[in-house]
Amino acid sequence: MSKSGYNVSTRVYAFLLFAYPPEFRRMFGSEMVQVFRDCYRDENKSHARLWVQTLVDLVVSVFRERRDEPLNGGLFMNNLRRDLIGLAGCVGIIAIAAFLLGYGRKHEVMPILSLGYVLDAVVTTGVIGNLIVFILLKVKKRDPVRTAACVFGIVHAIPVVLLLLLARNNPSFSLGNIVIGYIVSFLFWFGLHWMWNKTVAPQTMPEQ
């Protein structure tokens, strides 16, 4: 057993304990790290197996402890439900946009093709932007509307600039259509997040 692997693993596990409610961590955190250390030291087969077992145990027990928190249990479940609905909604919208785009191009359906730039932007920026917003809001307590505005602003601006630099000599390049497409896409995704945030109960808002 390497000493550095032992130290790093212990530190990583100690960091992962932040997923538990603070009260639970305060009561048992140091003891759990001690137990993990003992397991790591005594594991003579595979540390990868130990990590897999520990991570599965961590996910299941974090969910249980969060759910059973005396004050925040209901809030956690509400937030989880809300997040899952939001995530499923975003995935659904992206899937519908991608399907429409594919169908419209294959069968040359003009009403859909005229929305081509918007749908292109909705699909590409939706996947990346929503993922970044979701992670940022989960990891850090930030203002959701401001975070969505910043992320979607950047995620929409970058492709426009890249297209301008790389495809401006292409005869079919149309800066106006692209800019309009990305502005509509930005308004769509940002508007969706703004509306979604309106449905959040006041006590679930992060500290400003």
Binding site: Y20, F24, E31, V35, F36, V60, E65
Partner: protein
Amino acid sequence: MAIELEDEREVVTKEENPEDLLPLTPAMFHILLALADRERHGYDIMREVDERTEGKMRLGPGTLYGSIKRMLQSGWIEELEERPDSESDDERRRYYRLTDFGYRLAVAEAERLARMVKAARNKKLLSARSV
């Protein structure tokens, strides 16, 4: 450091009939069983369960301490004020033991399981070798 759970304990469980709390979850019964013969710290409980079940049941730290928290709150187990082997043992370890109610609960669960084994034997599900 003793855990400050005294006020939160549901004292009512001590007056409750242990039969009303059955069946226990496997993790909880294994922890009660591990503490039935002597006081143990968390890793010792984990190792005892692992050995007794021949590695079939392995309690992770999260499951172990989640169960311990609930059992402390319910008054099934308690934390020792002093470590039994304070000189040779790590002072960060905390030791737990069964309360009277926890012991009665473990007995009730063991009897329930014994009745099930008896029923299985009567239905010839168990061979003479495995009894």
